[in-house]
């Protein structure tokens, strides 16, 4: 039986609606999420379905409503907060790092914090230096917060449902370029996608390529092109960065001996560096060539289409670097 095809945005909305219907303690909070439906339309229609008490428009007050959501999550509800852009993460960093991420470790089992922060990251729409960033590496460096980064509509739905049901704080990365993408998504409301299990996009023997979020979608496309050129990539979509499925990455590197990581963020101190290090620690002797990273340079992202594209990873750049690594 073939599945129906819907967009990443629709899949997210379906997950929200299903979880809100399933659990009355789940509510949505964020800027312009009610009548407007959120800056990218994810919550469109949910106000009519669930009412103003559960689809809560906020003032422009990210530290305030994020801290509020943590307090609400500590006291019997399950808030799902929308940050309009991931670039606003620094505004709420204190609340997430010093509060949400530490509660359970310090206060023990009494201190659950079932909170989801949804935020779209990423470039590709010429939004410029402060509306195009991926800042997940900041959170990776701070314990206590799970990081989820779906790259397909089916994963968007299944992982968001898992995030809402999770007892711990979850940062849920969406991506502006992924919102309109369409694919098959199961209708079964009980279907969730577990955290910490990478998705094998493509099986191959020549090179391991690791990515997440929009970069995973690019790698998926690049792997097909590489196959035409006779290079067989083992392509992994990490799906979640915390927890990170290093077993899958290490197993793949042991098979291919070559690792390339594609990250849509600046190079220094990035997630790719962490993955590379973990592979060195666990599979150094399996590497036949140096680990390659395709990332942004250490610069802000420009608004000009030409400059933005020049800075970002692309299918062509992935193919070029993969060929270089395989030939090297």
């Amino acid at each position: 039986m073939s599945e129906r095809v819907i967009s990443y945005t629709d899949a997210l909305r379906e997950a929200l609606a299903e979880e809100m219907a399933r659990d009355e303690t789940v509510f949505l909070m964020g800027e312009d999420i009610a009548e407007y439906g959120g800056a990218f339309g994810v919550t469109r229609g949910l106000l009519d379905q669930f009412g103003r008490e559960r689809v809560v428009n906020t003032p422009i007050s990210e530290p305030g409503f994020t801290g509020l959501a943590i307090g609400a999550a500590m006291t019997g509800t399950r808030p799902v907060v929308e940050l309009m852009f991931m670039d606003f993460l620094p505004l709420v960093a204190d609340q997430l790092l010093n509060m949400a991420g530490k509660l359970r470790y310090v206060f023990g089992e009494q201190a659950g914090c079932p909170l989801v922060i949804r935020a779209p990251g990423g470039a590709g729409r010429c939004y410029g230096p402060t509306h195009s960033q991926n800042l997940e590496a900041w959170l990776l460096h701070s314990p206590g917060i799970k990081i989820v980064c779906p790259s397909t509509p089916a994963d968007a739905k299944g992982l968001l449902k898992s995030a809402i049901r999770d007892p711990d704080p979850v940062f849920f990365m969406e991506h502006k370029m992924l919102y309109p993408t369409r694919d098959e998504v199961p209708e079964n409301p009980d279907l969730t996608v577990p955290f910490g299990q990478a998705r094998k996009m493509c099986d191959g023997e020549d090179i391991t390529i690791v990515a997440w979020s929009w970069m995973a979608a690019l790698v998926d496309g690049a792997a097909l092109e590489l196959e035409k050129l006779g290079v067989y990539a083992d392509a992994l979509d990490l799906r979640t960065l915390v927890p990170m499925d290093m077993e899958a990455v290490v197993a793949s590197v042991k098979k291919t001996g070559r690792l390339m990581i594609v990250e849509e963020a600046v190079r220094t101190g990035g997630v790719a560096a962490e993955i590379a290090c973990r592979v060195f620690e666990r599979a150094y002797d399996c590497l036949a060539a140096p680990v390659h990273r395709l990332t942004l340079p250490d610069i802000p992202i420009s608004a000009s289409p030409l400059l933005e594209a020049a800075a970002l990873p692309s299918v062509e750049k992935i193919i070029d670097m993969a060929l270089d690594l395989v030939d090297g």
Partner: protein
């Protein structure tokens, strides 16, 4: 409402507890840092006397008094200072980070102003879940100038949430006097800018605090939203361990000591015939014994197991 002698005893307990901790730090028995609330005892005792069992508190870095007044166990608190397994946070939190959700104490917060939105969130869920309870937030005059304070108060006003903002104005944010940090002499007037009542309260008068919180709580429970109570008091101790207090005179401190909440309440209760010198001496002795037992419990408790160091980040 608890009776007068119970409240007086709690104030004396907080005083002795704080003085004991300062001594233990200076002797090197306890490591790290601590922020005593010596001189501010009437605020937490007055506030907690007005609360119901389901109400919730978020506290700040200077929270020992808040926790004791809400029913925190002195032994388990002391054990936390000593970094012991029996401490409220098993040694992971220290002076600033202890919690007991069972008695509605949602914990301290080491980031000044960080706990104000949290209280508003507890009030949000109380309203969302239709529970008859209020949230109380303790914060200082220093935190009143943080952006989180502004944002939390505005959100509480917009959504008419059942929260009581208790600003303990102890005159100094570390070394900075209120007048150097705020453009108004009374922080309570800021409430008008959010659209809810703000009131200056004599924070060294425990019964005045209880009365003000009682009214604010009724207001919150009847759906009329938040209140800001600025409780004026004075921090007799230094900001934290090792504060030489160069920013104020010993004369100023001596004057404040004469009108501290314990001195004042003792006089009130004596005038009412509820307390005399022998009874007070008995009460103080009893409190000192309780604090000594707390210290003994802490000292005799085991240290946490290092094997658990990496456990408990996630469920």
């Amino acid at each position: 409402m608890k009776n007068e002698l119970e409240n007086y005893r709690m104030m004396v307990l907080i005083r002795r507890f704080e003085e004991t901790i300062e001594r233990l730090f200076s002797q090197g028995d306890v490591k790290g840092t601590t922020h005593p609330s010596t001189g501010q005892e009437a605020v937490p005792v007055g506030v907690c006397a007005a609360l119901g069992p389901g109400d919730m508190i978020t506290s700040n870095h200077r929270g020992h008094g808040h926790f004791l007044a809400r029913g925190g166990d002195p032994g388990r608190m002391m054990a936390e200072f000593f970094g012991k397994a029996t401490g409220y946070s098993g040694g992971r939190g220290g002076s600033q980070l202890m919690a007991d959700y069972g008695i509605g104490f949602l914990g301290g917060n080491g980031i000044t102003g960080g706990n104000i939105p949290t209280a508003v969130g507890a009030a949000f869920s109380a309203k969302y879940l239709k529970r008859d309870r209020v949230a109380v937030c303790f914060f200082g005059d220093g935190a009143a100038n943080q952006g989180t304070c502004h944002e939390a108060m505005n959100l509480a006003a917009v959504w008419c949430l059942p929260v009581v903002f208790v600003c303990e104005n102890n005159q100094y944010a570390m070394s900075t006097p209120v007048a150097a940090a705020a453009g108004v002499p009374d922080l309570a007037v800021r409430a008008a800018g959010y659209g809810f009542p703000g009131e200056v309260v004599d924070g060294n008068d425990v019964e005045a605090v209880t009365a003000a919180v009682g009214l604010a709580r009724e207001r919150a429970l009847s759906g009329r939203g938040p209140t800001l109570l600025e409780c004026k008091t004075y921090r007799l101790s230094g900001h934290s361990r090792g504060d030489p207090r160069r920013y104020r005179s010993r004369g100023e401190e001596a004057a404040a000591r004469k009108v501290c909440p314990i001195v004042r309440y003792k006089a009130v209760l004596t005038a009412r015939g509820l307390l005399d010198e022998p009874a007070d001496a008995d009460l103080v002795r009893d409190v000192e014994e309780q604090v000594a037992q707390a210290v003994a419990f802490a000292k005799n408790s085991p240290y946490p197991d290092v094997a658990d160091l990496e456990r408990g980040v996630f469920a």
